[in-house]
């Protein structure tokens, strides 16, 4: 499995996906499994949102060595990160950075709400933030 970041829209439709490969071997594998795990975690995220006042929900699910962390905006757009890294602080910082980027995307007059994010600039920046 590979580290994956996803933005999931209001109706649980994926808006953006970025997979982070460490090696060539990983690249050969598909992102299916990651998406599969993230999709399963959506129920738990929805449960946690009700009892949590913060945007950052922390670790919501585990799958073998991987953890699923979530961040939910006021517009119920979910940021989900599947990664082996268990450092909560760095995950939180990553989410905050991506949230800023995301705000810039939705401020774009050409962006239609709840539609897939295809901006290469956004993609590049997200990858940069993750590699930090």
């Amino acid at each position: 499995m590979i580290s994956t970041f996803m933005i999931i829209g209001k109706d649980d439709v994926p808006l953006y996906e970025a997979s982070f490969f460490n090696s060539k071997k990983q690249k050969e594998g598909s992102s299916h499994l990651s998406q599969f795990v993230i999709h399963a975690a959506l129920d738990i995220i929805e449960e946690k949102v009700l009892s949590n006042e913060n945007f950052f929900l922390g670790v919501v699910d585990n799958f073998n060595n991987f953890t699923v962390s979530a961040f939910v905006t006021t517009g119920m757009v979910k940021f989900v990160l599947l990664t082996e890294n268990k450092n909560v602080d760095s995950t939180k910082a990553f989410f905050n950075d991506v949230y800023e980027l995301y705000l810039k995307v939705i401020l774009n007059p050409f962006y239609k709400q709840n539609s897939p994010i295809v901006s290469p600039y956004f993609d590049k920046k997200v990858r940069e933030k993750f590699s930090k």
């Binding site: 109706d11 649980d12 992102s31 299916h32 998406q35 599969f36 399963a40 449960e47 699910d61």
Partner: protein, 736 residues
């Protein structure tokens, strides 16, 4: 839970030994108030294997036991050595056979005192008045003097034949007191050893010591105290040196103590603490160093077993105690799912190792071993001296010869061989099905989790070659992913479905999957799409790859394909969309230009049945990502136009609100609707009142429409009045 020996699973009950053959024994055994004890009948003490005399061992700093917990220790206390012996005497015996009674009592006292076992002598008398005379009291005193009667160890209880009920209660009271004092003494005695042990180097002795104390407290029914001791025992386990104890033993002992702790929490109704203890236990288990890289399957097998055990354990907890479910950790399904995760990982590791060591595994002497995994052997207590130290079951004539030859490498292959014999798929399927059932029963439903589990079940069935079952699950799953537009995951599921269709020779399903996989948004690589496309074309050409030795009735298949109007309709749409390009599609069009097929489709499309119409529109909407959205809308709109004269206005309404032509000519449509529904106004008002229809807001925004409608309404005053009454929208009031 059944995997564990009964001694661990059940509530421990003190064992009481009954000496002699008096009829009163039967009364004791049958009486309900004695259900809290287990009785063992013995003719004489010789027939019981008593424990050895306690020796005063001089403890040394370097002393290390061979193992942490003995397997037969619990069994010994529950089934073999009673905590108290009961012996019956009649009043007649006391007077006429005084010497026999004295010798009996003194022998019993002498033998049992060294082993700290209590004695209870029941004297059978006719009534209470019989013992109040002086002669009787004197006789009893004489016997006590002659036997050097120790009241701390022995006691006399009277059994009045005239009042059996009160006699039974007296006996039970006496037994309770004696057993409790005996157990307290034992705890005190065991605890004394603490002074001799060294915490740093002899942690395993502390584990044993507190486990014993916990067990004795549990026998007393003091669950809080028992819990305290078991927790201490568990705490010391983490200090046990791994150099002296094998990982398998550490895991097995921690599991036994953990099980005991969990049962105490269950009896004390502290379920949340039980969950916390289990999480701690798993963390502890993961910290135990692995035996080596290739032994990873052992650790995974153990973790999976723990999750399974805990899920089983939670099934004992009443459901209302677990709900409302605050987090996933309080759902039984979560633990079954986690167990399945680890089992799946274990399965994949074993399969890789099996391929890697194929030759060596074929050389393993099959006769030497039972095909059971290490953790199955551990729970078979009859097979080992210490918990977690299983002996190999050897079936050879000379076991010693084999033992001599053993090397580390042999051990590994022996273990791997056992693993390969284990039915991993059955285990994973069992766990997943359990998880699926538990999540399905939970309210509110965790639909996505259920879908995920169902996907894994279908995958497992698929790998096992059970395509029929796999297909059943896939149909249910794909719907969720399709609606939520998770195309990547959907494509993964569809690939399974595709293969199932092929294996089951269900060409209709096969083609459906092929078409769906070719949709541009689906997360399938271009190269794969090319392969799928060529398969599709060859299928349409009816030249689909035919395997050898397969006699497919191609004529029948041909007919089947001709009936696939729906799929052909989809092919058309895909071809017409500009995203899908390539000369190959022209070939498909040619095949689809069959006039008969088109006519059939049109006939079906033009059906007057509202039910069919609705199904068709639903179908179109469901596959909306396949088609151009406007096309669907126009199609459903055309259908609506045709059926506007239908009486069931609500059904038409479904199509209308999403119809592009309606957006343009709302007023005309609404007029039509009102005209049709002249005699049943309320229905149309219900439709207008529906907020989703945006009817009112559109009227406000579109001046022309509004004016024309107003004119129309003014002409039909009756309708207008009713409309004003029915429509409670502020916007409408404003229009007025």
């Amino acid at each position: 839970m059944d995997i564990y020996p009964e001694d661990l699973r059940c509530l421990p009950i003190p064992l009481v030994g009954l000496i002699g053959e008096e009829s009163q024994k039967e009364l004791l055994i049958r009486s309900n108030i004695f259900k809290i004890y287990k009785f063992v009948s013995v003719d004489n003490l010789g027939s019981i294997k008593l424990s050895k005399k306690t020796k005063s061992i001089q403890f040394q700093e370097s002393y290390q036991p061979e193992g942490i917990l003995k397997t037969n220790w619990i069994k010994k206390h529950l089934e073999q050595i009673p905590l108290i012996f009961v012996k019956f005497f009649t009043a007649h015996d006391l007077f006429n056979q005084e010497n026999v009674v004295v010798s009996h009592i003194s022998t019993l006292c002498r033998v049992l005192k060294e082993r700290n076992i209590k004695l209870c002598f029941i004297i059978l008398v006719s009534s209470e008045s019989a013992i109040t005379n002086e002669q009787f009291e004197n006789q009893l005193l004489t016997i006590k003097r002659k036997t050097q009667f120790d009241t701390r160890q022995c006691s006399f209880v009277f059994w009045y034949e005239s009042d059996v009920k009160s006699s039974l209660q007296m006996v039970v009271q006496n037994l309770k007191e004696s057993i409790n004092s005996s157990l307290k003494e034992r705890i005190r005695k065991v605890k004394k050893n603490r002074d001799f042990y060294i915490k740093k180097t002899q942690a395993s002795l502390f584990v044993r010591l507190y486990f014993k104390c916990g067990f004795y407290a549990e026998l007393q029914g003091e669950y809080k105290t028992a819990l305290k001791y078991y927790l201490r025992s568990y705490k010391f386990l983490s200090s046990v040196s791994i150099r002296r104890t094998s990982q398998t033993e550490m895991r097995a002992v921690s599991e036994v103590i953990n099980l005991k702790i969990l049962f105490q929490y269950l009896r004390l109704n502290q379920y949340q603490s039980a969950v916390e203890q289990f999480q701690e236990h798993i963390t502890f288990g993961k910290k135990i160093p692995k035996e080596g890289k290739d032994y990873k399957f052992l650790a995974l097998s153990w973790i999976s077993q723990q999750y399974k055990m805990f899920a089983n354990f939670l099934e004992f907890v009443p459901l209302e105690k677990l709900s409302p479910i605050k987090n996933c950790y309080e759902n039984i399904g979560f633990y079954y799912n986690a167990a399945a995760n680890y089992s799946t990982e274990r399965k994949s590791i074993v399969q890789t190792l099996k391929k890697k060591h194929k030759k060596k595994l074929s050389n393993v002497n099959v006769k030497m071993f039972q095909p059971s995994t290490i953790y199955e052997r551990i729970y078979d207590f009859s097979n080992c001296n210490y918990i977690g130290q299983p002996n190999w079951v050897l079936t050879l004539d000379d076991p010693l010869q084999v033992v001599d030859k053993q090397t580390e490498d042999d051990d590994y292959f022996r273990e791997l061989y056992s693993e390969t014999q284990f039915d991993h798929s059955a285990e994973v399927l069992y766990l997943l099905r359990k998880a699926y059932r538990n999540y399905s029963e939970q309210k509110p439903h965790s639909e996505r989790l259920i879908t995920t589990i169902a996907t894994r079940i279908s995958k497992e069935y698929f790998e096992e070659g059970e395509y029929k079952f796999a297909k059943k699950f896939i149909e249910h799953i794909s719907e969720t992913y399709r609606l939520e537009k998770w195309y990547n995951v959907l494509s993964m599921v569809l690939f399974y479905s595709l293969e199932c269709g092929l294996q089951l020779k269900n060409w209709r399903d096969f083609m459906k999957c092929l078409l769906e996989l070719l949709v541009p948004k689906m997360g399938v690589q271009e190269e794969t799409k090319c392969i799928l496309q060529s398969k599709l074309i060859s299928l349409i050409k009816l030249k689909f790859i035919k395997k050898d030795n397969e006699n497919i009735n191609w004529k029948a298949e041909n007919l089947k394909l001709l009936n696939m109007n729906l799929n052909q309709f989809r092919v058309n749409l895909i071809i017409n969309s500009s995203e899908w390009k390539g000369q190959e599609y022209l070939k498909i069009i040619r095949y689809n230009n069959n006039i008969n097929k088109q006519q059939k489709y049109l006939k079906w499309k033009g059906s007057t049945s509202i039910l069919k119409l609705r199904n068709f529109t639903n179908y179109l909407n469901r596959y909306s990502y396949v088609y151009d959205k406007n096309k669907i809308k126009t199609k459903s709109c055309n259908l609506c136009k045709k059926h506007l004269n239908l009486e069931i206005i609500e059904d038409i309404d479904h199509f209308l609100w999403d119809c592009p032509s309606y957006e343009k000519n709302r007023t005309i449509w609404i007029k039509k609707l009102i005209q049709i529904n002249k005699y049943n106004k309320n229905n149309i008002f219900d439709i207008i009142r529906n907020k989703d229809s945006l009817f009112i807001s559109s009227l406000v925004n579109e001046k022309d429409n509004y004016d024309s409608l107003l004119k129309f309404l003014n002409k039909n005053l009756e309708i207008r009045e009713s409309a004003v009454k029915c429509l409670a929208f502020p916007e409408f009031k404003r229009i007025e």
